[in-house]
């Protein structure tokens, strides 16, 4: 049950300001995104149209606390079909980015961020890997790329997550 008494009228404007959120107001609710969505095909708990409608209605708490927001595979099947030309996958991503700012970040992403800060890549390059590469005649690769940590510092994302 959705009770509009809990609506936050500012929510949609916050999303529109985010990178990828621009198209939100163009949605007329046709559900082409949901019909094209491979995730929804297998699990109806995820529904991009519903997330967009709830956002337009200002149901901030429901949208941000829902685990299903994170089910979007970012495959762009919806983006290809939207008759309003909304970059739907980017819009869902904008809502995810906003959720992170508001303190809702899945643990998995925090772990990945930690790895990127330490190494600049997701998988550790061990001596074993370098030897294997050498045996195969593949060139060596850097174990760490410190520039990535510099970017994370520059955009302040680590502080946002620690809030």
């Amino acid at each position: 049950m959705i009770d509009l008494k809990n609506s936050d009228p500012e929510f949609k404007w916050e999303i529109i300001k985010k990178e990828g959120g621009e198209g939100l107001l163009k949605c007329f609710g046709c559900s082409d995104c949901a019909a094209s969505c491979p995730v929804r095909y297998f699990d109806e708990r995820y529904n991009p149209r519903k997330i967009i409608r709830l956002t337009l209605l200002g149901m901030k708490d429901i949208v941000l606390s829902s685990p299903f927001l994170w089910f979007c595979a970012h495959c762009h099947a919806c983006t290809e079909r939207c008759p309003q030309g909304i970059k739907v996958a980017e819009l869902i991503n904008a809502i995810k980015n906003y959720a992170v700012e508001q303190g809702y970040c899945p643990e998995g992403y925090k772990i990945q961020l930690d790895l990127l800060q330490k190494m600049g890549r997701l998988y550790e390059v061990e001596d074993f890997d370098l030897k294997k590469r050498q045996r195969l005649g593949l060139p060596p690769i850097d174990k760490t790329i410190p520039d990535v940590a510099k970017i994370l510092e520059h955009t302040n994302i680590l502080k946002v997550l620690k809030k």
């Binding site: 985010k18 491979p38 089910f71 290809e80 997701l122 994302i157």
Partner: protein, 286 residues
């Protein structure tokens, strides 16, 4: 000689060396020079859901490395292709470019970003590739899996047909193998939700494995390490969850192409495939 900067990303150089090895060896056969990118990092895609700007800056830094090398980029992973292509477009936007400079980087000249397989299709071309096929793989039934970020979003790529994709089918057919037509060719592997809900991800990857079995495919062909994780590394999990027996090998496209060029199993790293393609090799032997 055609020359490109090779962007490896995180997964390929440590978890899918057979993809890298076969791509390098196929490139050599085709007279393509692949130049390594020292200090290339993660593409940035894993951080997109957390903060789009951070991910774009990480991606842009990688594009800028190639720009300093004065070379267009080719990538082996679909998600890396999407992320780097997005950054490449953003770099020509004044506002983003100045953010990039403020972060301490420079992008001296414009360079293109494409998937390695797209580069084969566009720059080498089916007719030229055909000239290198010494051992046509005629009896094989191959199921091509494109993956999402090879051609979507079309606004970013303007390549292939997002509703009825065909370029990978053509590239499979040039090896002499049959490229299987099947429903839901565009279906996502589920890799992006693996870290969020494994059960759902496995249900998604199971879908195409079922089709591959029904169609009696000798192998699936993948062009993305993420998709291969879902179809090959996690195939056992799908078998257990749905009480099925698949045993479908998953080859990277350059492995298949290399075999048709007459390269031996070692040159395309076949021993690193988790599901052994022995039956397939038996069919094309002799």
């Amino acid at each position: 000689m055609k020359k490109y900067a090779l962007f490896l990303g995180c997964t390929v150089p440590v978890r899918a060396q057979h993809y890298e090895l076969s791509a390098r060896n196929v490139a050599k056969e085709l007279g393509i020079e692949l130049v390594d990118m020292p200090s290339a990092s993660c593409c940035g895609f894993p951080m997109k859901a957390v903060d789009a700007e951070t991910s774009l800056l990480i991606a842009a830094r990688n594009v800028a490395l190639a720009s300093q090398m004065k070379l267009d980029v080719v990538t082996l992973c679909n998600s890396c292709t999407a992320m780097l292509s997005d950054a490449q477009v953003q770099l020509s936007n004044k506002e983003f470019h100045s953010k990039f400079k403020q972060a301490g980087f420079s992008y001296p000249r414009e360079v293109k970003v494409r998937h390695f397989v797209r580069m084969l299709y566009e720059d080498i071309g089916i007719e030229n590739i055909k000239k290198h096929v010494k051992k046509p793989l005629n009896p094989l039934r191959i199921m091509p899996h494109y993956g999402c970020h090879y051609m979507r979003p079309s606004q970013l790529y303007g390549f292939d047909n997002t509703e009825v994709p065909h370029t990978l089918d053509e590239l499979v057919r040039v090896t002499g193998a049959n490229s299987l037509e099947y429903a839901d060719k565009k279906m996502c592997c589920g890799g992006s939700v693996l870290g969020i809900d494994e059960d759902l991800a496995i249900t998604m990857s199971n879908h195409k494995l079922t089709v591959a079995k029904e169609q009696k495919a000798d192998a699936m062909v993948s062009i993305c390490p993420f998709c291969t994780v879902m179809y090959e590394d996690n195939q056992r999990k799908a078998e257990a969850k749905f009480d099925k027996q698949y045993g479908i090998p998953v080859l990277y496209y350059p492995q298949l192409l290399g075999l048709s060029f007459g390269l031996d199993g070692n040159a395309v790293g076949l021993r690193f495939n988790r599901i052994k393609p022995d039956a397939l090799l038996g069919k094309i032997a002799g």
